[in-house]
């Protein structure tokens, strides 16, 4: 399975469906109940899961596909998220022997740390493009509550994704698919 993309198509398809459902809820349901200021970035959570749990050479291609799907729901586009996602997965691959998702608390903390890293990478790209620091400062205040919600949801969503990607019981970051 490791080196064969055909084996990844089914779980990837289901993951994309989950992403689409979560994006629809986030873009249509939350604003309608008055939460227009914040949005929950489920794409980030799924990409972090791929970095943590899947060890396949095609991670970067799957990130690209996920981000491309995300771009149908956001004018953000797929580019920045793909850069951040691939860079984070490279970093995770070097740290996999140090970190183990053995409990919900550790999963929450590790997810929060890597979301902060995601924020730093995306903010650097935005700064390079716009030369405007005030925009990043505003983004940070939105990032805080959004990232906390994502981190709290991580054990639950990771559980669902474990079942889809058949990685149950493999809690280490270095677990292979």
């Amino acid at each position: 399975m490791k080196g064969n993309f055909a084996h990844l198509i089914r779980p990837l398809g289901i993951t994309l469906l989950i992403l689409i459902v979560l994006e629809i809820l986030s873009t249509a349901f939350l604003p309608m109940v008055g939460l227009t200021k914040y949005r929950i970035p489920f794409n980030v959570l799924i990409i972090l899961y791929m970095g943590f749990k899947l060890e396949t050479p095609f991670t970067s291609v799957m990130i690209l596909i996920l981000q491309y799907t995300h771009s149908f729901f956001s004018i953000e586009g797929w580019e920045m998220g793909t850069v951040a996602g691939v860079m984070i997965c490279i970093i995770i691959s070097y740290l996999k022997d140090l970190l183990h998702l053995t409990s919900s608390v550790i999963t929450i903390v590790v997810t929060q740390i890597f979301q902060t890293l995601w924020f730093l990478i995306v903010s650097s790209l935005i700064y390079l493009k716009t030369d405007d620091f005030s925009y990043i400062a505003q983004k940070f205040w939105r990032f805080l509550p959004e990232s906390i919600v994502i981190s709290l949801l991580a054990p639950l969503i990771f559980g669902v994704l474990d079942a889809i990607w058949k990685t149950e019981g493999e809690s280490g970051l270095g677990s292979s698919v």
């Binding site: 490791k2 080196g3 689409i20 994006e23 629809i24 809820l25 986030s26 873009t27 249509a28 349901f29 939350l30 604003p31 309608m32 109940v33 008055g34 227009t36 200021k37 914040y38 949005r39 970035p41 794409n43 396949t56 050479p57 095609f58 991670t59 970067s60 291609v61 990130i63 690209l64 995300h70 149908f72 729901f73 956001s74 004018i75 953000e76 586009g77 797929w78 580019e79 920045m80 793909t82 850069v83 691939v86 860079m87 997965c89 490279i90 790209l125 493009k129 405007d132 925009y135 505003q138 983004k139 939105r142 959004e146």
Partner: protein
């Protein structure tokens, strides 16, 4: 050496490099002023947007259900029949009231700008952007309804934004709250020009106004008509904060938009046949620039 020997590692490194390279090129090329979608993107957006739209209506139905049924569960058993009748009547009254409110809103929207020589298309908001960095809303009208890219979008209160992305049946509006949207504005009372940009979730900021301009709190800001996107004279908002430094030649003015984006349900798209002509003119100018660049290179 390990990288070269291990096939998986080598494949991963190559794919990472290719994807990163393509993405970085994409980041450099991405602009947040206008997005022309491909046929494939059209199909997918048109498939997902009705789902977003149905979630919106389901939420409304569920809301009605909770308001009008669940809240009444504690009613006395003896009054169940009567309560049901009352509930039915209340539901009908509620529906009539909603219809009446909707009629008033739509009438107000359609009456708005009678003097403006634009064709108006009424649309409903179906979703917001998936990323909170962007203040973009999705509406249920698209190319098939005659909507054009960069058409101005308004409500009876004032300016909403312009059409940024367009598919056959849906469109994304870049609102005036978004930092990527720049509107050439005019302070109505003193007629001073400035550029309005999205500033945060609730405010916009007007830049490049001379320090000497006697702007006061509560001044109304309107569109100037420059820039070929927005018609002149549409209300953008009111001045809510003025920042004058002891140095510099300009002042920053914070604007509270006239439109309450938290309660936005319907919008009006202003369409003009001149828009198409303007688009062609811009394209011709772009083409001329490209030709000139190519000649210089040769």
């Amino acid at each position: 050496m390990r990288l070269i020997e291990d096939k998986d590692r080598r494949q991963r490194a190559i794919l990472n490099f290719i994807v990163l390279f393509i993405s970085l090129v994409g980041v450099a090329k991405r602009n947040y002023v206008l997005d022309k979608t491909s046929a494939f993107e059209d199909i997918l957006i048109d498939s997902f947007a009705p789902l977003q739209s149905s979630v919106t209506s389901v939420r409304s139905e569920v809301g009605n259900f909770f308001d009008h049924y669940i809240a009444n569960i504690s009613a006395s058993k003896n009054n169940i029949e009567l309560s049901r009748k009352i509930e039915d009547l209340e539901n009908k009254i509620f529906e009539f009231k909603e219809l009446s409110k909707e009629n008033k809103r739509l009438k107000k929207l359609l009456d708005f700008g009678e003097g403006i020589s634009y064709r108006k298309v009424l649309a409903q908001v179906v979703a917001w952007d998936a990323n909170s960095d962007f203040k973009v809303i999705r509406i249920n009208k698209g190319l098939k309804d005659g909507v054009q890219l960069q058409a101005a979008v308004v409500t009876s209160e004032g300016l909403v934004g312009y059409i940024y992305r367009l598919t056959d049946h849906f469109a994304d509006i870049l609102t005036v709250l978004d930092a990527n949207n720049r509107v050439d504005g005019l302070i109505q009372r003193v007629r001073s020009h400035g550029i309005i940009e999205g500033y945060n979730n609730e405010k916009s900021i007007m830049k490049y106004i001379s320090r000497a301009e006697p702007i006061i709190l509560g001044d109304i800001v309107i569109t100037s008509g420059l820039g070929n996107i927005y018609p002149k004279g549409i209300k953008v908002g009111t001045v809510s904060h003025i920042e004058r430094e002891s140095y510099g030649i300009t002042q920053n003015v914070e604007i509270t938009p006239a439109v309450d984006f938290g309660r936005l349900e319907e919008v009006v798209i202003l369409l003009s046949d001149e828009d198409e002509q303007k688009r062609r003119e811009w394209e011709a100018l772009d083409q001329m620039d490209e030709d000139a660049d190519n000649k210089e290179k040769k």
